[in-house]
Subunit: 114 residues, 2 copies
């Protein structure tokens, strides 16, 4: 029957930068912690894997939206802390606006009675 990935899995594509920027907007965080925040705040619905989280962080850093610094931990391996740059704050605002517009448009086509 040509079973593919679930609909929800496909929807997830593209929202990672928005989610990541959003949680980092709350304060300086390191990678592992970002994944936990997203998982908690989404009620367990979103659990970004390491294979998608770390590349996304690197892309955002390369784009100048995030700045990062290594710091030792008193318990466990060292951590790479990320914070929003001015550019990142701008990108977050833009991304939120684009997300809202996107939702309105999909609803207009796909959800009856709107």
């Amino acid at each position: 029957m040509a079973r593919g990935p679930s609909f929800a899995t496909q929807l997830l594509k593209g929202t990672t930068p928005l989610l990541v920027l959003s949680v980092i907007g709350e304060g300086e965080l390191y990678g592992y912690e970002i994944a936990q925040r997203v998982r908690e705040q989404s009620g367990g619905a979103f659990a970004p894997s390491e294979g998608s989280l770390y590349p996304a962080l690197h892309r955002l850093e390369a784009d100048g939206a995030l700045a990062a610094t290594w710091r030792d931990s008193d318990r466990g391996p060292r951590r790479r802390y990320y914070r929003l740059t001015d550019r990142g704050r701008g990108l977050l605002a833009e991304s939120r606006a684009e997300w809202s517009a996107f939702v309105r448009t999909v609803d207009r086509v796909a959800v009856p009675g709107r």
Copy 2:
């Protein structure tokens, strides 16, 4: 600066089946017409390219969500008309529910004050 595709382009990934099922739910349509409907109803925001529309239709047909028949046109090439099957109607309802849940969850993480 590692410029990639726009945020909105990435978001689009995964919504195609929902949009396609939705417009076909309004009545039997052929491929080219489906693209036009989506474009019109989205106010021009979404314009599915042929390279993504036709594969999506074929996938949905292979999944048993759509049934199709060839018919001659009185003007121009023949057309392949698609209609929802019972399975397709079920999938449309499911997809709408998943979409709504997905939006609520993203909003919870990414949109402040909700």
